[in-house]
């Protein structure tokens, strides 16, 4: 019996299979550089400490900052660190090479492959030395839960998990959207946009005051990166907000795909 095929003639889940093969190759390759993995793990652990330091210092001097207790702040940091893993494990090592790939013509070859070009160009490589970030993020999340105060129930937990998954997708989309113009511009570096959004997300959005809170929730949905998942988990926000998070993720993926296709259409090949 023949495998079911899509309209473009490729087997179903072809892109997913290509990606999983690429990831296996990355993991196998990284195993040959254990030294990099060890240094990466040490540096990642140090950075986790640095990232958590502000909330620890806040907790040291205040019992409850604006309603944000230590466990809640730690949970927010855990979500934030998971987003950071997306940036360093996936985005930097894929999107970060686009400029060079355009210059030397390597991107031309990748665009010709019979696979979803956006997925291939933005997801196929993994920076394995930063993978421990994922484990550390889960560890920090577990510590936050162990310190008490949450979760607020099974529905909030499920909704928080959904909103965290949406936040990961949103981060990926933001990384691509901030940098896709590099295909047609000689020199373009949109990382500052992503890092700005990411750094704004490391602090609970209500701390920015009423005006910026609205801006960072409604206009630029940075609140949905870390604050909303933490608020849902601890029952400070309605679980139904997770649906808004999913909608945002879907819209961001659609927008990214449309803009990517348009940019690839304008792409003139090797820019020398």
């Amino acid at each position: 019996m023949s495998r079911r095929r899509r309209r473009d003639g490729l087997p179903r889940f072809h892109t997913l299979r290509v990606l999983s093969t690429a990831w296996r190759a990355e993991l196998a390759g990284a195993a040959e550089y254990r030294g990099d993995l060890v240094i990466g793990t040490i540096v990642t652990t140090i950075w986790l400490g640095i990232s958590v330091a502000p909330v620890l210092v806040v907790a040291l001097h205040t019992g409850d900052a604006n309603g944000w207790t230590l466990p809640k702040l730690l949970f927010l940091q855990a979500v934030w660190y998971l987003l950071d893993a997306v940036v360093w494990v996936v985005l930097i090592v894929n999107v970060g090479y686009w400029e060079d790939e355009v210059r030397v013509g390597q991107l031309d070859g990748r665009l010709l492959r019979p696979v979803n070009s956006l997925a291939l160009c933005s997801l196929s490589r993994l920076h394995v030395p930063d993978l421990p970030k994922v484990v550390l993020a889960f560890g920090l999340g577990a510590l936050a839960i162990a310190l008490g105060g949450g979760p607020a129930g099974w529905l909030p937990s499920l909704a928080a998990a959904v909103s965290i998954a949406s936040a990961l997708v949103l981060t990926w989309a933001l990384g691509v959207l901030a940098n896709y113009k590099v295909l047609t511009h000689v020199r373009f570096d949109g990382w500052s946009v992503l890092f700005a959004a990411q750094n704004l997300a490391r602090v609970p959005i209500p701390f920015y005051g009423p005006f910026l809170r609205i801006v960072l929730t409604v206009v630029v949905p940075i609140a949905f990166l870390a604050t909303v998942p933490a608020e849902i988990f601890y029952g400070d926000a309605s679980a139904w907000l997770a649906l808004v998070a999913v909608a945002l993720a879907v819209v961001s993926v659609r927008l990214t795909a449309v803009l990517w296709r348009r940019e690839v259409g304008r792409y003139a090949g090797v820019m020398g």
């Binding site: 540096v43 640095i50 900052a65 030395p129 020199r187 949109g190 500052s192 700005a196 701390f207």
Partner: protein, 276 residues
């Protein structure tokens, strides 16, 4: 007439260095001006101090945090916005690795000046665009967010004098972290730790006065604090600096110069000059 007589007399070292820097900074400014849009995007780097300002203002909303008011936190982080905005050490710590891998360092070594001068000049050129927007933004932030500043003129003078001394120390630290590329294939992860140190003991995540003892006291005697947190603490009135802090900062700058010279010399012995 001999060849030696025809050759122009060599300029004194200091004048020659000034000439070299003048030319390098001019070139880099021209290159940077071609990408002004990028420099505007670079202003988004301001969000880190602003985010921590929000965190600490929030923490102090119900009352002072260890004697530091929300107004002082506002001023502190507004000044930190400036002191972090003028640092070029991040670029320096990450720019050496690609030079080593591409083999470009070998070409730079053939020049009659130190190969790090072009990197420093590039950083200085970037400042000509990055700093002017901060000059009105910092007082505006303090004004609109209700920050308070010290009335002690002496503290302002000390803060202003500390900034260049701290800057020089940061440059040497950045160069030393960048020099790790001469030893390690992938040094970027280690070089990035300079950021982390700046965050913790430079006073970015919190004024070092809030760190638990003895870290608070230790942090007050190292160059990252002189470069970032100390001027902000003086102007916001969080702490009162003594004049000897300038001597200490100057000694650090000299020590780091000597340390960098040695590190570089050792690194050069290991440098294979073939790239990777």
């Amino acid at each position: 007439m001999t060849d030696a007589a025809l050759r122009p007399a060599p300029a004194p070292a200091a004048r020659r260095l000034t000439q070299v820097y003048g030319a390098l900074v001019r070139t880099e400014m021209q290159a940077a001006s071609a990408y002004r849009a990028q420099l505007v995007i670079g202003a988004l780097g301001w969000v880190v101090p602003v985010a921590f300002m929000a965190l600490w203002r929030g923490a102090a909303a119900d009352g002072d945090v260890d004697g530091i008011s929300a107004a002082q936190f506002t001023t502190y982080y507004a000044v930190v916005l400036l002191t972090t905005g003028i640092q070029i050490s991040h670029g320096l710590s990450f720019q050496v690795e690609p030079l080593v891998h591409s083999g470009e360092l070998s070409a730079l070594l053939l020049r009659p000046s130190h190969p790090m001068h072009p990197l420093v000049a590039r950083g200085l050129a970037t400042l000509s665009y990055a700093v002017p927007p901060l000059l009105p933004v910092v007082p505006a932030l303090i004004w609109f967010l209700g920050g308070t500043v010290t009335a002690d003129v002496g503290q302002w003078v000390l803060a202003a004098a500390l900034v260049p001394l701290g800057f020089v120390s940061e440059v040497y630290l950045g160069l030393m972290m960048g020099s790790l590329a001469l030893w390690f294939t992938r040094s970027a992860a280690l070089s990035g730790l300079l950021f982390g140190a700046e965050w913790l003991i430079g006073g970015l995540v919190a004024p070092v006065a809030l760190l638990p003892e003895p870290w608070s006291e230790i942090a007050r005697h190292q160059p990252l604090w002189f470069a970032i947190g100390a001027p902000a603490e003086a102007i916001s009135g969080i702490s009162e600096l003594r004049p000897w802090v300038l001597v200490e900062a100057a000694v650090w700058a000299v020590l780091l110069h000597v340390a960098f010279t040695r590190v570089w010399r050792r690194g050069m012995r290991r440098h294979e000059a073939v790239g990777t």
